[in-house]
Symmetry: C2
Subunit: 405 residues, 2 copies
């Protein structure tokens, strides 16, 4: 008996070996990206957080996960979260006490925070339409976010980044993940948060180092996208160093917005293609973090990485040296150190190029700028010139430090 | 000194507490979904696999990961993969020997296969533009797929499903994951594969049980979407039971295609909204699998789950009883058993409704059909009627068995 013919489908060919019924199609998935900047967002009179919750469907279940470092700096935070939820019983039901997890890069070194998050989502009955509110630095957002994106294949996450770096950069991104096999962010997923709430007041309790740390990403995104913003950063760098909160809010907000616009308008939010212009300065930054056992914070490493790639670009005649000089001045005025003894190990540092290529895949793509606001992709690096650039950076920093001191 | 005004951005309001700069945008990500049906796809003369690889960019790196059960049934498989790659040196470079991993539902019960996959991707230098070729049953595709979707936030995966169930259903889906906290697929992500290659010849080495198992998903998708296909299934059920390969290929191909069309045309591939019509019959199926410690295969449980929900629908007057009768006859002709002693534990089974709701989130949504090809969503279940439906199913099966015997 021959195989039956199913209406609308081709009949079987006589020779089954030649069967090759192609079927192919393209589909899209869409997300909203929501960014809010405010202060005292847990004050029940501030509507920013509650406005983000679904209205008219009864209260959503929510768990709060807080970065231990943040809770140590702000012991009142768990009670504030509970108080905010209690004040909005028609919109939100906080399930259980806020969970405090270890923060900093260490929380990405294993599955501990991932597992704590997944377990809480399971035990407290958080479903795909329920919420995880996570407040903390970029590392906690990354690890909690990966677990929240995996549990039930993704529950809704409101990120409340607590550092300048996380508010300006990681918090508004669509990446989540942890480190594995000694490689930063080796395991993770692209998963847009439900919303990002940048509460500027959270920045006041930061150490000077973490206050400063997000500013190198601001310089990076300004170099790539906006000459006016770059000029502004150069002029307000001393104010930023002296911890002017209004200025910082303005800078963080503009950086986050440029980053967000890149995701929304860039056409490749999940980086399925090649170009990753926001990785400017990052190949060496990631490697330096790893080489210093994360003694260098991400933002500190990015400040060095940007300067290094600009120095390389200037030596190669790809960009005017004035950009390098202005960027160095700006970063130094912000308080960054622009070299590190780990850079003396040129060959290990240069392995970062290979690892960077391997992480992205395909051929090497390094983003530089030919002028401020005009990024270019470079696919080959002259290693001897890069070695000279490393040496130049190390020396320039010594000169600069002695001048400053 | 006032905060600087950045061109194109609103100036700072005078009262920082009123700061609430909204920013919101929508973005989309697109994927190609590629499905191929063929035979002897590892034969170097068959172009189906190589046609899926990028051409003109030099060979892509690839690792092959094989289901142990498949390799035991086909010991020649690893050599075939190597031979295929060696015959196409300009397109593919197989890195290392094919990796064999444990299969079956057990491989989803912990992180072992996930970790083996992630480690191989790391050690063998697989990047985002490189490939994982994974051949096996649905469980291996799920666990390997979750790891491959996580490593570097996603490397390219070609799935070669080796069971009727995986070829017709899971293989063509966009879900990956493992079980956790006693819940099926608790951890996972949506991540479309680069391509799905259904090699019909792989089905010949299946046990009768696994040969049959995919057919309940065929019945399900026919009930939801295509009355003609349902008629065909009813008429060819005995041929399918007697292992006619051409007929099976046709049925698998049509089922996979209907599933794929649902993903491409359904508008909600990542299930960000509520409706999940393909879950018809699945609330009890998932629970029965868990209650029997996966002694019931997924397809076997789905056959029961479909019948149960149709019986409930008939009792509620939502659908004509003839659909229930025809579906039962079709499934019995295929060789399915339509009850299980685990069903005697009504209350535990009914917990599946709660778990199902919790996994999806929001209010309960159960898909039934009001007629063949006409799905409806039901948001409330009358538990006393459902208990009666369970009892009826258990009795009908006994009658049916005694009639058959």
């Amino acid at each position: 008996m021959p195989a039956p013919e199913i209406p609308g489908q081709p009949p079987f060919p006589s020779n089954p070996l030649s069967v090759d019924h192609r079927n192919e199609g393209r589909f899209s998935v869409s997300w909203n990206h929501r960014l809010r900047t405010s202060r005292d967002t847990l004050d029940p009179s501030n509507p920013v957080l509650t406005d983000l919750l679904p209205h008219g469907e009864g209260p959503v279940r929510m768990i709060a996960i807080l970065d231990r470092g943040l809770v140590e700096a702000r012991p009142e935070l768990p009670a504030q979260v509970e108080h905010w939820a209690e004040a909005n019983p028609t919109l939100v039901r906080l399930v259980g006490e806020p969970l405090t997890v270890n923060g900093g890069e260490e929380c990405k070194q294993d599955f501990d925070v991932f597992q704590q998050t997944a377990r809480a989502i399971n035990e407290r009955g958080i479903c795909r339409k329920s919420f995880v509110l996570v407040a903390g630095g970029g590392a906690v957002l990354d690890a909690v976010g990966y677990a929240a994106a995996s549990a039930h294949r993704g529950v809704r996450v409101i990120r409340m980044p607590s550092t300048t770096l996380a508010q300006a950069d990681a918090g508004v991104g669509v990446k989540n993940g942890i480190n594995a096999f000694g490689k930063k962010n080796f395991l993770g997923v692209f998963s847009p948060p439900w919303a990002v709430v940048n509460d500027t007041n959270l920045l006041t309790s930061l150490s000077d180092r973490h206050w400063r740390s997000g500013l190198s990403e601001a310089v990076k995104v300004a170099l790539l996208k906006n000459p006016d913003f770059f000029d502004t950063l150069c002029s307000v760098a001393p104010q930023l160093r002296s911890r002017n909160l209004d200025t910082m809010e303005h800078v963080v907000q503009n950086t986050a917005r440029l980053h967000m616009d890149h995701i929304i308008e860039g056409g490749d939010a999940f980086e399925l293609e090649i170009a990753r212009p926001l990785d400017f300065g990052h190949w060496s930054a990631h490697k330096l973090e790893q080489m210093t056992d994360f003694g260098l914070a991400h933002g500190e490493a990015v400040a060095i990485g940007l300067t290094l790639d600009l120095a390389y670009g200037a030596m190669m005649g790809l960009l005017p040296e004035s950009i390098l000089r202005r960027t160095r001045r700006c970063l130094l005025d912000m308080g960054f150190r622009l070299s590190h003894e780990a850079m003396n190990n040129h060959e290990t540092l240069l392995e970062g190029l290979r690892e960077f290529r391997e992480h992205l895949g395909g051929r090497l793509t390094i983003t530089l700028v030919q002028d401020i606001g005009r990024p270019i992709d470079v696919h080959e690096i002259d290693l001897s010139v890069m070695r000279r650039a490393i040496e130049a950076i190390q020396k320039a920093d010594i000169n600069e430090s002695s001048r400053a001191g």
